[in-house]
């Protein structure tokens, strides 16, 4: 593993923490009824745990996803806090993995229908570039579903949507937008 500068490291961690804090805070206060100070305590403790796990190689990069892994630590910390306060709350489903999307299966489909390797690489690079600029809420929903394998119900709880059906509608709309972007982009590129 190559080392990176402390400044870059801090920037990456800042970005990650700033992305996770509003989600964690809103989720913890909604599901567990915690006030903002308890949410801050849980968030900071969970962050220290994540830091420890990453340093101790307890985080499996091939299986675990940092975002959902971190939120599952937050959930455990929240449950501990609830136990200390002797408050019983309905325990939400595990944040981790509903169904895992397989890279091998994506490769299989692409190899079948897009046999030209250079074209595949070009398209994949462009999609990756697009992912870095994807607007909300599609950015959040599509990443959570296709990368972190968070179920619709869990997303509704995490991001404060009314129901799993609402998330499904948003995800559908985002997929439609992506499909439109994809077809237009590559039609222009290769026409």
């Amino acid at each position: 593993m190559t080392s990176q500068s402390p400044e870059l490291s801090r920037q990456l961690l800042d970005k990650f923490a700033k992305k996770e804090w509003p989600v964690a805070q809103s989720w913890l206060s909604r599901v567990y009824g915690l006030d903002v100070h308890d949410c801050e305590d849980i968030f900071q403790e969970a962050f220290i745990v994540l830091w420890t796990h990453l340093r101790q190689d307890r985080f499996d990069i091939h299986h675990d996803k940092a975002g959902s892994y971190f939120l599952s630590i937050c959930k455990k910390k929240a449950q501990e806090a609830m136990r200390k306060k002797q408050r019983i709350v309905p325990v939400p489903d595990d944040v981790l993995a509903a169904q895992e999307f397989s890279e091998a299966k994506s490769d299989q489909l692409l190899l079948t229908f897009e046999p030209e390797a250079s074209l595949r690489e070009k398209k994949e690079t462009m999609v990756r570039q697009m992912l870095r600029q994807m607007p909300e809420p599609c950015n959040r929903i599509l990443w959570a579903f296709y990368f972190e394998s968070v179920s619709m119900q869990e997303m509704a709880e995490l991001y404060g949507y009314a129901s799993a059906a609402t998330v499904k509608v948003i995800k559908h709309r985002c997929l439609e937008k992506f499909g439109k972007w994809f077809s237009e982009r590559f039609k222009t590129m290769f026409s």
């Binding site: 190559t2 870059l8 900071q44 990069i61 994506s106 489909l109 994949e124 990756r128 559908h172």
Partner: protein, 277 residues
């Protein structure tokens, strides 16, 4: 807004089928049928290919991000982590000296970072509320004082103007015996000036002019204005009151009350001064 019922059921089936395939949940027969259906339908194939690219790119990009995060976590120490958390929760942290001032193992990260750390029992929150209450009360009190002060000033100003109107005509010009045509011209000049005092409501020019004449009339050596000294002083006091310059009016009236050459002016000056004070 788009509702779930609005989503075409065929499209949903398409998406769900592709997702089922990409998750590896199809058995061999189902997979073969699925691939055949994609072969036969260009529209479906394009959609499935786009989704496969999305999943593949997300896997690659997400893993890259997580690897970077791992590296970042491994290259910072605990106090850095505390700073990161503090920045995320409270905004930028000024300096990091507090991070090392306490025992990190004992304290939560934000407390270690020393920024917006909530003390147990929401103590900081209480302080914040108290400060908010204090500053709100202070602001309201300041507003009340300003309004009261403004109102009082207005009342004072009205009262001064009313007194000025009341006393403006107390004296007709009674100059000292004239000593020729030069004195008559001076008398006309003074008469016009005093008429202006009775006529004009507010005038800084008039006050400046009368102040100048008042100084001349008070000089130890006799001059053209000496015989009009009391009247100049009296009219200056009236103009000062109209201009809301009560201090200057009192100053002039005090001189008049003790040194005016006419008993009537002395008495009226003392009377007006008493009312003003």
């Amino acid at each position: 807004m788009l509702k779930q019922d609005d989503i075409n059921s065929d499209e949903l089936t398409d998406v769900e089928l592709v997702e089922r395939f990409l998750c590896g949940n199809m058995d061999a027969d189902e997979e073969a049928r699925f691939m055949a259906s994609l072969n036969a339908d260009e529209h479906r194939r394009a959609k499935a290919v786009a989704m496969a690219y999305l999943v593949k790119a997300m896997k690659a990009e997400g893993s890259r991000r997580d690897r970077q995060l791992m590296q970042a976590m491994c290259s910072v120490d605990r106090s850095d982590v505390a700073q990161v958390v503090a920045r995320a929760v409270c905004g930028p942290v000024p300096g990091n000296t507090a991070a090392t001032a306490v025992e990190p193992a004992q304290k939560p990260a934000i407390a270690v970072a020393g920024a917006c750390a909530p003390a147990p029992g929401g103590h900081n929150n209480k302080i914040r509320k108290l400060l908010y209450g204090f500053f709100t009360t202070l602001s309201v009190a300041a507003a009340i004082v300003i309004v009261f002060w403004g109102y009082r000033s207005h009342i004072d100003s009205c009262r001064n103007a009313r007194l000025a109107d009341e006393y403006a005509t107390a004296f007709a010009m009674e100059p000292a015996p004239t000593r020729g045509s030069g004195d008559e011209a001076m008398a006309r000049k003074m008469s016009r000036l005093f008429a202006r005092v009775r006529r004009e409501r507010r005038s800084q020019d008039l006050q400046a002019e009368l102040s100048h004449l008042w100084e001349l009339s008070q000089q130890p050596t006799y001059n053209d204005y000496t015989p009009y000294s009391s009247l100049i002083g009296w009219n200056l006091a009236i103009v000062c009151l109209r201009n809301d310059d009560k201090a200057r009016a009192c100053e002039v009236l005090t001189v008049l009350a003790s040194h005016a050459d006419s008993d009537a002016v002395r008495a009226k000056a003392a009377e007006l001064l008493a009312k003003l004070e």
